[in-house]
Subunit: 315 residues, 2 copies
């Protein structure tokens, strides 16, 4: 597969004398730039890194030589020496749920503003895979890790403890973060949703979920929702959790089924956006008026942040 790389290492001694760099087999290094500029390697390094206290003369010589040679710094070497990088490990469970691309988009835009690069790992909600992914990403000495959810396996926590980099856990804040958590208080949000529905006068609520509730966060939302409804005296009239993957189509199908079986339902709480969108489609195409005939609710977001807890030894 990766053959062909054995490219003839032979006689490439000819210097680039022209202006445009020819295809160079050997990588252009600091040494090459230094030689061409007639300065030391370390000086080139400093110019490239914008270190303070560089004379204009030196800077000029170096940038000229670097441009001429088409020099690209080798961060791998730099990272080895400094034991840091500009990489941030980002571990997400999936890209199918619409929320994760959005989250990733946000992560990327903030990171890139700080000169950092996200390295992506996707676990497919599989704990073993998550361990592998984290191990893989940690081997690149990232400066930080972003994980999804608060309940990583002990193996992962142990592995993270070997490093001193900050860990941010996203999507959930109801629990104990390793360092910091940013996300949704799912239980609180679901209770607020229940309160909202009841306060609005709905009395016969139903719930629709999908895909065996893989992200445990959706299970937490459902349970909190259910519990709060019961507390308030208006328990769930119906609930259907489809084994199918969450999607607009699933939302259409399950909504149709549920409303057919339970004509008295007056509001439906959906596990996520896709399903709710499907519900909306079903109602629109069936002449069911929303929210007059049936109310639809996808989620109440109540984002909060747990501040970074410094990782100090218990004193």
């Amino acid at each position: 597969m990766r053959s062909g790389a054995k490219a003839g290492n032979g006689k490439d001694a000819g210097k680039n004398t022209g202006k445009l760099a020819m295809r160079s087999v050997e990588r252009v290094t600091l040494r090459d730039v230094a030689r061409r500029a007639g300065v030391s390697e370390i000086s080139v390094s400093r110019v490239m890194r914008q270190t303070p206290n560089i004379s204009d003369a030196l800077r000029l010589k170096v940038t000229e030589a670097a441009d001429a040679l088409g020099y690209t710094p080798n961060r791998v070497a730099g990272a080895l020496k400094t034991a840091t990088s500009n990489l941030v490990a980002v571990v997400l469970p999936s890209m199918s749920n619409e929320v994760f691309p959005q989250v990733l988009d946000g992560i990327e835009s903030v990171l890139s503003g700080h000169g950092l690069c996200p390295v992506l790992g996707i676990t497919q909600y599989d704990d073993d895979r998550e361990l592998e992914v984290v191990r893989e990403l940690l081997s690149w000495s990232p400066v930080g890790v972003i994980l999804t959810g608060l309940n990583q396996s002990d193996a992962i926590k142990r592995m993270l403890a070997q490093h001193t980099i900050p860990v941010v856990q996203i999507m959930d804040v109801e629990g104990d973060p390793l360092h910091a958590a940013v996300g949704i208080a799912h239980g609180k949000a679901a209770r607020e949703a229940a309160d909202l529905l009841i306060d609005k006068g709905y009395r016969r609520p139903a719930y629709i979920g999908a895909w065996s509730e893989r992200p445990s966060r959706s299970r937490i939302r459902r349970q909190a929702f259910e519990a709060r409804l019961s507390e308030r005296g208006f328990p769930l009239v119906a609930a259907h959790i489809s084994p199918a993957q969450s999607s607009v189509e699933t939302g259409v199908a399950v909504t149709a089924m549920l409303l057919a079986e339970h004509r008295d339902v007056d509001v439906i709480f959906y596990a996520n956006d896709d399903l709710a969108m499907g519900g909306m489609f079903h109602c629109m195409s069936s002449g069911i008026s929303v929210p007059n005939d049936v109310g639809l609710l996808a989620s109440t977001e109540s984002i909060s942040v747990k501040p970074h807890r410094l990782n100090l030894p218990p004193s």
Copy 2:
């Protein structure tokens, strides 16, 4: 901001004697594992890499020591030595358009099956940013690069020419790829769409786009669509390209506006899924029957692949 990392480097000389690794300040290296296992560093390296010709005795000693110390290989050092990595640079213009998360999902799943990691860069459709992103990602010695579209700037092409890694350009195949292209033949697809509509009997087609047609691919689709319609004798009746960002809401609004102004339109071709979904919503909520009153079409995908052209010097 990134303070606090200056953590006391002091007296942590105590060996890990317990079973659970304590927070170790120093990184565990091959050397540590080797010492503990009573073998050479290179042997540890070989065991970790599953090199052939290793005795079971050695393998056992090494894995035992590695587990005990919680060793994680340092790929940065490995990458420096071997001048290769398991990273693949992935450069996308955006995460907002639903297609890119899907593409990224596909990329990640295939890559991870081969032990590769995507490193992500997002350009926001900005050529300067694309150059920066590519430079940044190349500095990590990826084994390959995935770019979006076929029209990168010359600066980028020159930079890529410095390396010998394969470049895959996605989303478009109508043009000359650097090495290989995988994507949609946009012009062909749009012409087929035009044919399809006319063959189905539609006679008064309209077009809806958004966001100033930022990805030039959508402009290509529109132009090809328009041209083909004219060829067939049924030119566009109306077109509206919203300055707003493409979204379901924009789709609703623009569809409403267009249908109000042009009651005779019998089919609408949308620049993308989001807009079409908005159009669908508008029709459903306005009692317009699809496809009886108006037909809606988002895209005809006609994926093709240009095979890898080996990067040989002209002979």
